[in-house]
């Protein structure tokens, strides 16, 4: 347990020390809550869909978790560039344990970031049902775990940060925009429904929304099942690729 714990603790310490990063990564969710929440709110309401903020907030919380998680995973590239990775790779500890500690640390950080956004959206008027808060946290955790592992898997194949914009624009952004985080999947063109159904984040957003008392598109059980399977797959993939890293 020691090595897993110390890897986890390291991620948390790094996070708590970089205030700039913590505050900086709140910018985007804030913009979405403000611009979309208040900008589209009245149109959404006129269309008879109810309060847009109640719909949007779980999506924006998922976004905060997604971005922080991918970034935590990608941080592995920094560890490689600044040499710290070598320190962990020559230690008498299995790479699986190192990867697990790292991923749990990154996922915890992403959940914290999601919780902060939840609190902010409460200030803006989001009124969720807190009865099943544990299920909400579980969904946030699964999203965090999945995308930290995905980030780590990607980072293990890259040597520098040059591909980072590529990952942001062609992977993370599409994952977010085609997840049903900002618009309801019900009634959209079939192509979008198909795209979303291949997107693990769609199940995360849907499950989180349902746990907060919103309408579910896939059904919470289905959300949990698909998201859980995706998480397990990416954790396994990340661990495998991490174990293959040569310096």
């Amino acid at each position: 347990m020691g090595p897993i714990y110390i890897m986890w603790l390291r991620q948390l310490k790094r996070y708590s020390r970089s205030r700039a990063r913590m505050i900086g990564s709140l910018g985007q969710p804030l913009i979405f809550l403000l611009a979309f929440g208040f900008g589209f709110g009245h149109i959404y309401e006129k269309a008879g869909n109810g309060d847009y903020l109640q719909f949007l907030a779980p999506g924006v919380i998922s976004m905060a978790v997604l971005f922080t998680a991918v970034f935590s995973g990608i941080e592995l590239i920094w560890d490689r560039q600044f040499g710290f990775l070598k320190e962990t790779l020559v230690a008498p500890v299995s790479r699986l344990n190192i990867m697990i500690g790292r991923t749990l640390g990154g996922a915890t950080v992403a959940m914290l970031q999601g919780t902060i956004v939840l609190i902010i959206s409460l200030l803006f008027g989001f009124r969720p049902d807190f009865q099943s808060i544990l299920i909400s946290l579980l969904f946030m955790f699964l999203i965090a775990l999945l995308f930290t592992a995905l980030g780590t898997a990607l980072a293990s194949q890259l040597n520098d940060m040059q591909s980072f914009p590529l990952i942001m624009n062609f992977l993370v952004m599409p994952l977010f925009f085609f997840s049903g985080a900002i618009f309801p999947l019900k009634g959209v063109t079939p192509i979008l429904t198909i795209v979303a159904s291949c997107n693990p984040l769609a199940y995360g957003v849907d499950g989180l929304r349902a746990s907060f008392g919103g309408d579910s598109f896939y059904g919470m059980g289905m959300d949990f099942l698909v998201l859980g399977l995706f998480s397990a797959f990416f954790v396994a993939l990340g661990s495998y690729l991490f174990s293959k890293i040569e310096i």
Binding site: G2, P3, Y5, I6, R10, K13, R14, R17, S18, F82, G83, F84, L85, K86, E87, T88, L89, V90, A91, P92, V93, Q157, N159, E246, I247
Partner: protein, 265 residues
């Protein structure tokens, strides 16, 4: 050999068609300060990576303290500490936290970890700065911290890959004094590489010179100087390895490695 702590037999490493290390054999005696010298691209770092389990040999065997680096990785990893050529500390953590991290990874019990951290940080004169973030440290301080960290788990061998590169003469001198002191006090075997021949001359009890992946000379610094009829180890080194510049060899290896990485993608 009974007293040898590192035993390398017919070690070879190939990257594609390029042979970085070509069938080398040598052994290091317990307690020795062993200098592993050679021009850029000679195969030093590749060898250290294989000795420290970071790379798989293409063929040949390495025994560290009797453990095979391929089949008994964890025992091998417990037996050595290493200071890499470039920095390997976490800048966002304090000196004490970096030590703590290392101690936990190497399963050093908590009480011993604290005692040992204090002891070693005092030796490298960083105890007063233990709660400062490493990013505030100078290059020399980081090196000292890395040396202390590498010794935290009582390793039998300490690998130093160019430990003094880029440091001023005062700091270099200090660092070698710490290392010599620790070598005596802790009976730790030291395996180092350097490009500063006067350093190797001064501290090494034995040196091995490699070039183009092969061993071209072995012995004490005095023996090598005598054999090549030169006054300094630097002259002996140049006489043995030639005067031509090695940038191209180095970049050859680099480009090969890069190619390999590209293929892997």
């Amino acid at each position: 050999m009974k007293n040898s702590i590192i035993e390398v037999k017919k070690l070879t490493k190939k990257f594609g068609d390029f042979t970085a290390v070509n069938n080398i054999s040598f052994s290091v005696t317990k307690g020795e300060i062993f200098g592993f010298l050679g021009p850029n691209g000679a195969g030093k770092t590749t060898s250290i990576k294989m000795l420290t389990t970071l790379l798989h040999p293409t063929s040949g065997t390495i025994l560290l303290d009797g453990h095979d680096t391929v089949t008994a990785k964890n025992s091998v990893r417990e037996s050595f500490g290493i200071v890499f050529q470039d920095q390997s500390l976490d800048d966002e953590l304090t000196a004490a936290e970096n030590m703590e991290f290392h101690g936990v990874l190497y399963k050093v019990p908590s009480a011993l970890r604290k005692q040992r951290t204090e002891e070693l940080l005092k030796i490298v004169e960083l105890w007063d700065r233990r709660n400062d973030l490493v990013k505030q440290f100078s290059g020399g301080m980081k090196r000292r911290l890395e040396i202390a960290r590498g010794l935290l788990h009582h390793p039998k061998i300490l690998f130093l890959d160019e430990p003094t590169v880029g440091l001023d003469p005062q700091t270099r001198n200090h660092i070698w004094n710490y290392i010599l002191n620790l070598n005596k006090k802790e009976k730790v075997t030291v395996f180092f590489t350097t490009h500063y021949m006067e350093e190797a001359d001064r501290v090494a009890s034995k040196v091995t010179i490699v070039d183009h992946g092969k061993i071209i000379a072995q012995g004490t610094p005095a023996e090598l100087k005598k054999k090549s009829k030169t006054k300094t180890l630097e002259d002996a080194f140049i006489k043995l390895t030639g005067k031509s510049l090695r940038d191209e060899d180095a970049s050859d290896i680099e480009s090969l490695r890069n190619q390999k990485k590209m293929w892997r993608r």
